[in-house]
Symmetry: C2
């Protein structure tokens, strides 16, 4: 029986570009000038890793209090852009179909519950669906902890779950959790980037995935 | 003797993501809800083609007066985000080095002069450099007209110029103009997307290109 673990930003909700520019503004506010595409390519990994990777990119140290200030500022800037954020095409319908077909699914995001909550609210998630956020695990993606915690709550064994995500960090964490990775282009990564990081299928967005559930062994019976 | 024709947004100036969100906001204002990544993948083509392609994606017609409203709204929204826009790392230095080595170069952008001017101002472009914008040609990228017009002003023959750009539309228009395409990742496309559309070299950004000018036959003598 198929089971799915979904990433949130860029996979179910069209929020990646807003997160990218929110990080860009926050980083500039603390004196870190980074090209926007480099932030985009790091989105989806844990905030702590992202900040460390970006600081290393600039060849600078980031004091823990600056890192904390940065996370707060990112949350504030993202909140300003939230009115532009919507579910991705087909996301609500895909989740609804899985639920009605009694296929198990969960959500696992590198974001903290504070920034994830508005996106979760948009999706109309039924009671009882496991939601794993940064707050629940010690290490977020590309460590496998988020996906393993979600799999545990779904009571699925290694190899039984499929991870759906838009970033190479999702694919990498999926592999490390011994789950199959399914990529979506809706976060703005290219198809080959996702394939080379282990996606065994890539769809444009949740809508296209919904129209190809048979390719993942989901049976409507 | 090598000659270069540079795209502007995403190639010399870090403005792609701001353009993407400006289009997103403008499109929503006229009732067109499109996923952000789909706008990103169309950035760099002519505004007219972009609007037509996005309308087709939604299976809707766009009246000419709405298209005009959309272009105006995009320019307004982009202007609001302009304080976030900066030259890409190495851009000013690369152009300065080419000038001092007496290598010919030009800029060719699908944008109108109105939106391109602030970006051009940031780069400190010397007098006499050809600047070709949407206003000078009938058809912008992926038609080759912009690059051909720039090549003409540089007095270079087909095959003599290299086009530097961040999008597949640059690479496609370069091929059609019979110029070599050089890709940069700084607009957020993946390396393989650029290679499959004809880039014969791909660099991270102007800084990396500047450190590899010998790979393009530029000689410092």
């Amino acid at each position: 029986m198929a089971a799915f673990i979904f990433d949130l930003d860029g996979t179910l909700v069209d929020s990646v570009y807003q997160h990218v520019l929110a990080w860009h503004t926050a980083l500039r506010a603390v004196g870190f000038n980074l090209s926007v595409w480099k932030i985009h390519r790091r989105i989806g990994m844990s905030g702590g890793l992202l900040v460390r990777a970006l600081a290393r990119e600039l060849g600078r140290e980031m004091a823990p209090e600056i890192a904390e200030q940065l996370r707060r500022r990112h949350a504030e800037e993202y909140a300003k852009l939230l009115p532009q954020v919507e579910p991705l095409p087909g996301a609500r319908e895909l989740l609804r179909d899985l639920t009605s077909m009694k296929v198990k699914w969960a959500i696992a995001t590198s974001g903290a519950i504070e920034t994830a909550q508005p996106a979760l609210n948009m999706l109309g998630i039924p009671d009882g669906i496991p939601i794993v956020t940064r707050d629940h695990v010690e290490r977020a993606k590309p460590d496998p902890d988020l996906f393993l915690a979600a799999g545990k709550q779904l009571h699925v064994d290694a190899g039984q779950a499929m991870v759906v995500g838009d970033s190479v960090w999702d694919m990498l964490a999926a592999r490390r959790a011994n789950y199959l990775g399914i990529g979506v282009l809706s976060g703005g990564y290219g198809q080959q980037e996702l394939e080379s990081s282990g996606a065994y299928r890539v769809y444009a967005d949740p809508e296209e995935m919904r129209n190809h559930l048979d390719e993942m062994g989901v049976r409507d019976d």
